[in-house]
Symmetry: C2
Subunit: 346 residues, 2 copies
DNA sequence: CTGAAAGCGCTTACAG
DNA sequence: CTGAAAGCGCTTACAG
């Protein structure tokens, strides 16, 4: 039912090839033809069918950005900045938002066939998905905010924050404030990992243990940590669990800010004040952390640099450069949710 | 570079037509052919090119859902429920996430050409975009969470909350608690609209005025309201402005929960306690409202019903039904952010 | 049940 | 500068 390039050819009196050429800004077209055809296009409101275009084209000049988790505020920030940088470089970008649980590599494979982009920028990603099928995506790619060095794909770079060190400093600041009973809430494998691997949660757990070890403070993951889904509700529930299984806690490290927000609410609902009774530290540095009451202490990932290095590394790889794995610095923000522990009441 | 159906044909020894048929679950294929072809598909990891498929197909059986604002938490909820309902009805759905400022109708036009869906579910939308180009989308459509009755398109239904009444009750609950100096923060046209039209912000402003009029309380939009972008930061800044231009205020109605969260933080930063010194009411009922400290009083939009009626109305329209415009009830949640005004200090 | 062929809307050498 | 033609990866009548 919609117009096609054929209709435009007919109405303008030119051949479809010529119409295609003016639509694509090809130079070898007479002004007369260009004018006439553009006029017809304007008056009919014709829009070319992009998918047909891509079907024929050898490959596009676009960078594909795949965002894992449409509601992830950290990724939203990184995305915005990456788009700005690409635009400034006159690089078109195509953004694909995925749900938390969608398979980003499957999506990349689809985009490979259909858009044939220059390369991929993955904002977040699941190791299992990459292991399972990334070998089939042969285009230059960069995984942002998650480590990919141990994956070992020759066309996959990564730029991320040092999760071990970030978590270590987060917990460290609690210990240094005098806390000895620190509870942890975090992702699936933060408690008893079958293999101590390199999932983000596992790395952050290692950071916790490192901070404790360095200061000679004992830490028992089984007792002192609880699993939370990546949501406020998840943080709330995990905190309730944690309070039961580890009642002496005076501080909580949440592996993401959204979980931390749920944790604060759970504490508040039990009459436990933050930070007077229990301190809380989050992770990510999303905008919302700065609007909480109390303002959330958190490990701020440097979204600006994650975006910039992600784009730079990708473009270098497109020019033939090899994959690299970069770590960008983070910043610990103390906020208002950390205090000293109350006098020991034992 | 990726495999095509032709490669599969070659390797399996069958013609492309037969391959296509087994890929699409067509019944008229021998078991032998099906088995052999599926085996080749499995071992090669072949995936058909969806866009080529759609190019040829007459039209798909999918419902297209266009989400305006990838980070909008209310829409995220509605989306989840709509997907669940469609799945239960064995209706495939294709979701398109857009940025806040992208043109959702342009996107629908693109999808019209490329996917040829059964119909559209718009989660949020801008009146101007619809006015400009919706006439070209001739497929059954439902606009969810925004009114479309005054737009007058014969194929565009809507299901939304009564914005006038919602805002009226929000402000009403402040007035009934004894507040007389109520400030408003909200969208672009919430202050001095050139034409008092039917933008969401304008409708909510009308609700405020109605609540005041009913109770004989004077209300001066020029002085008592400030414009805010749809974000926490926007709410924060508008609150700062409002405090200067209307220093006597004892309560604030924010036209969205995210703005309200920014408002609470702005108040807190000035040593103004919520709700002891100033009360705050939001709008939307996003999950986050229930995790704030204090829990946010807000107008809860019924996402479950918005989703359900949206889907039902769309499917009815696909069967040939006429467009309808429905209002679903909301619920005022008092939270913890509303109190009585302090004794008058004048 | 299967193959050969036309065609979806576009682009792009190839002639002229 | 422009047209006619081939072809991108798939589907679908049409024969057999």
């Amino acid at each position: 039912m919609p117009m096609t390039i054929k209709d435009i050819a007919q109405r303008s009196g030119y051949a479809v090839g010529t119409v295609s050429r003016v639509l694509n800004g090809h130079p070898d077209v007479s002004d007369a033809a260009r004018e006439r055809i553009l006029a017809v296009v304007a008056e009919t409101g014709f829009r070319p069918n992009d998918t047909a275009r891509h079907l024929k084209q050898r490959g596009s000049r676009e960078v594909a950005i795949i965002v894992k988790g449409a509601g992830n505020l950290l990724f939203a920030r990184i995305l915005e900045e990456a788009q700005r940088l690409l635009k400034a470089d006159h690089r078109p970008a195509a953004v694909y938002y995925l749900d938390e649980n969608d398979d980003e590599v499957e999506q990349a494979l689809r985009v490979c066939r259909e858009l044939k982009p220059l390369g991929f920028l993955f904002l977040g990603g699941n190791r299992d998905n990459f292991k399972r099928s990334f070998e089939h995506v042969t285009l230059p790619s960069v995984l942002v905010a998650t480590r990919a060095d141990t994956l070992g794909f020759p066309n996959l770079s990564s730029v991320s924050t040092d999760d071990v060190e970030g978590a270590s400093q987060a917990v460290g600041c609690l210990l240094d404030a005098g806390h000895r009973q620190v509870g942890i809430i975090g992702g699936e494998s933060c408690v008893a990992a079958p293999v101590m691997g390199c999932n983000t949660s596992q790395l952050r757990l290692m950071g916790c243990q490192q901070a404790c070890t360095q200061r000679g403070v004992p830490f028992d993951p089984q007792r002192q940590s609880a699993i939370a889904r990546y949501s406020m509700e998840g943080g709330y529930e995990a905190t309730v669990t944690l309070l039961e299984q580890f009642p002496g806690l005076t501080a909580i490290f949440a592996m993401s800010d959204v979980m931390a927000i749920g944790a604060i609410r759970a504490l508040h609902d039990r009459g436990i004040r933050v930070p007077q009774d229990v301190s809380v530290v989050g992770y990510d540095g999303i905008e919302q952390a700065g609007y909480c009451v109390p303002r959330l202490a958190t490990v701020c990932q440097d979204w600006e640099q994650l975006a910039r290095r992600g784009v730079e590394i990708l473009l270098r790889q497109v020019e033939g450069g090899a994959a690299v794995h970069e770590i960008v610095p983070f910043r610990l923000s103390l906020g208002e949710s950390v205090g000293r522990p109350k006098e020991n009441t034992h």
